[in-house]
Symmetry: C2
Subunit: 231 residues, 2 copies
Amino acid sequence: MDHEKKAVVLSSGGIDSTTVMFIAMQKKFAVYSLSFNYGQRHLCELKAAEKIAKSIDVKKHLVLDIDLRKIGGSALTDSISMPEAKENSGIKSNNIPATYVPARNTIFLSFALAWAEVIESSNIFIGVTAIDYSGYPDCRPEYIESFERMANLATKAGVEGKTKIKINTPLIRMTKAQIIKKGLTLGVNYSLTHSCYNPDVSGLACGRCESCFYRKKGFQEAGVVDPTKYA
Amino acid sequence: MDHEKKAVVLSSGGIDSTTVMFIAMQKKFAVYSLSFNYGQRHLCELKAAEKIAKSIDVKKHLVLDIDLRKIGGSALTDSISMPEAKENSGIKSNNIPATYVPARNTIFLSFALAWAEVIESSNIFIGVTAIDYSGYPDCRPEYIESFERMANLATKAGVEGKTKIKINTPLIRMTKAQIIKKGLTLGVNYSLTHSCYNPDVSGLACGRCESCFYRKKGFQEAGVVDPTKYA
C-alpha cells in the first residue's frame, strides 16, 4: 500500500482544470491527470492538457479514448453548428446551449472514479464552476454532491467502509476572474491553456464561442493580460 | 418529438441482460441495446450481444469502445489470473472478487444516460441482481437508487424538470433460477447467451469461473436443461 496522498484530476487543458491541478499540487497531492479524446472538434485541448501535464510534475497523465460521437447530441462532437456566445446563454435563461454534451461530466467522473479506485486514491478534482459557466446541469453543486454519494456506494471503498471518495470542486463558487487570479498566485502559465470550442486549423481561438467569451471576460475582469492568440 | 416509448438496455450478452431486454420489449419499449468493448478477455460476450440484438427487433444496437485496460485493476481486463468460483465468494464474505471491474456499472450507466438523453428516452434497463451474484458493490439496490438520483441532476431533463430518468432493475431481487424461468416464459433463447469470463479460443465456456458457476447453478435450480457448451 502506497501512503502517498494521490488525486485524480480531470484535465481539459483549459483555465479551470489547469488551475485545479495547481490547487491539488499545492495541497501536496501526487497528481494523476486524466483527459479524454471523446471526438471533440477542438482536439487542441488534448495537446494543451499534455503540455500542462509535462510542464509540472504530474505522476501520470492518462488519455482515454471514448467516442461520444457515436452517441451524438452536441455541437462539440457533431456537425451541429457552433453557437456564438450570448450574454444570457445558459441556465439563467432556462436554455441549455447546443455545446452541452449529454452526461459528459458523469462519464468523465465515472472514469476518474475507476482510476481512483485502482490507484487507491480517495480524491478526485474537477474544475466545474457554477458562476461564469454555460448553464450545463452537470456543473451544479447539487449534482456534484449527488455524484459523490453515488460514488461511495459504487466502489469497494464504499462496501468495505474504508476510505471515502471525495469529489473536490475548489472553483465551484468562483468567477472566471477569481480563478485566474488564484491560478496566477500558484504559478499557472495560462498561455499553455486552451479554451476555444471552435479553433481554426492552426489551433487559433475563434474569439466568438461561449468558451472564448468566458475566457476573455475572465482575463478582462481580473485585469490580467490575456495570453490567448485569437484568429 | 418522437412519442414512442424508448428504453436503453445495457446488454452483455449474458442471461441477465438478455432477460431484461425481453422484459423491456414485453413492456412495449422500443429497445436501444448498448454493449461495451472494454478490453474484456471474453469478447464472445460482444458477439452474443450482437446475435441477441439481431434475433429480436431492437431499434438499434450500439457497441462503444472504452479501453478499461488503460485503467486496469481487474481480472476481467488484466493479466491477473482468473479466480475459480467459490461458494462463499463475494460480498457475503466481505471479499470482492478479482473479477470486479472498478466502477464498471457506473461507467456503463453513464453512457446509457448520455444515449437516453440524446434519443429522449427516460428509461434505462440494467440486469443487475443482488441475489446470485459476485458481491460487486455496484449491483446493490442502494447503489442503483443513488445513481438514479444523480442522473436526474446530471441531465437536461433534470434541469428542465421534464421527464425523470428511471433506472429499471427488474431482476434485482431474483435468483438466477427465477430469472431463467421468467426469461423462458418470454421466449428467451438462452443458447444465444454467453456468461463465461474465461472461454477457450473457440468460445467454449470454462465451466469453472464465477460466472459459469452462477449460470450452471441457475439452470440446475430452475430444472431447465443448460444449453451451454462447456470446454
